[in-house]
């Protein structure tokens, strides 16, 4: 009976630099998450009352959008990595379509978030309203900026797929961009239950 041996890769996918960025982001957001969780202990009633103002459905839709967008990026990367020499151009075109879907979902997230911010601001809420809203606006706006950057990165990667740039041997760029997008997704899946759901 033959035995399949899966060898471990020596290094993670993507560039070394993207991992430095990812570790810094994890550390920064990690501290902000803990800041929120421990500040809540000082006034639980205020946090619970303020949290009830938030639109949980909007946070839920945001999560689904980001998860699905991440899935599209996985499909784009897999398409490029599994390409054969004779169909590199076709696989880049297919990756380009997956990336377009991911970008559109990223833009949907941004639009949904802007609507949510507009609703919050129309109620006269701002950074100095109370500690909960200070954390809520800080966390969600900081994350929003990461999504904007992620969309720009995906857009640039897509431009390179248009010229058939990526193949199994040359996919560091698309891997790094994909990693950044998954990081944005990872941060949101913690942010959503922490700020919108847990009470």
């Amino acid at each position: 009976m033959s035995k399949i041996v899966h060898l471990k890769e020596s290094y993670p996918p993507g560039d070394f630099a993207i991992w430095i960025v990812i570790y810094i982001e994890l550390l920064t957001f990690g501290l902000m998450f803990l800041g929120y969780a421990f500040s809540r202990r000082a006034d639980i009633e205020l946090f619970n009352a303020s949290q009830s103002v938030l639109n949980q459905a909007s946070g839920f839709v945001d999560t689904l959008i980001l998860i699905t967008s991440s899935y599209f990026v996985v499909k784009a990367l897999n398409t490029v990595k599994n390409a054969r020499i004779e169909n590199i151009q076709a696989s880049n075109e297919s990756a380009s379509r997956w990336l377009l879907a991911a970008i559109l979902f990223g833009i949907m997230f941004l639009i949904n978030k802007l609507l949510e911010f507009s609703d919050i601001f129309s109620q006269g809420i701002n950074l100095s309203t109370n500690t909960f809203f200070m954390f809520y606006l800080l966390l969600t706006m900081f994350h929003f900026m990461h999504v904007v950057l992620g969309v720009v990165i995906l857009f640039n990667i897509r431009k390179r797929t248009k010229i058939g740039c990526y193949s199994e041997q040359n996919c560091r760029g698309i891997e790094s961009g994909a990693l950044y997008w998954h990081l944005v997704d990872l941060l949101w899946i913690i942010l959503f239950p922490l700020v919108y759901i847990l009470r």
């Binding site: 899966h6 471990k8 890769e9 020596s10 290094y11 993670p12 996918p13 570790y23 994890l26 550390l27 990690g30 998450f33 803990l34 969780a37 421990f38 809540r40 202990r41 639980i44 949980q56 459905a57 946070g59 839920f60 999560t63 689904l64 998860i67 699905t68 991440s70 899935y71 990026v73 996985v74 499909k75 897999n78 891997e175 990693l179 998954h182 990081l183 997704d185 990872l186 899946i189 913690i190 959503f192 239950p193 922490l194 919108y196 759901i197 847990l198 009470r199």
Partner: protein
């Protein structure tokens, strides 16, 4: 596995729906906080292992986000469960 990405996506969606319904119907009690944090940890692990492709890299690289996730989730659990003086 050919349809692994699809399977992971479905699991992530199911956990997200579970989280949303807990919040929507106000089922978040002391026990549920732990369960929610656990499902969030699993979601994070699925993203790092399969979407970020860390499943097949050396353990030391795979463990960094896992330790981060465990540290953040357990600290949040402490903040929620520790009795207030």
């Amino acid at each position: 596995m050919k349809k692994r990405a699809e399977l992971i996506w479905i699991v992530l969606v199911v956990f997200t729906i579970f989280t949303y319904f807990l919040g929507q119907f106000d089922f978040v009690n002391t026990l549920m906080v732990g369960i929610l944090l656990m499902t969030t940890f699993i979601k994070g692990e699925l993203i790092t292992d399969y979407f970020m492709s860390l499943k097949n890299v050396k353990l030391k690289y795979r463990m960094i986000p896992t330790i981060w996730l465990a540290a953040v989730m357990s600290s949040i659990a402490v903040a929620y469960y520790l009795p207030i003086q």
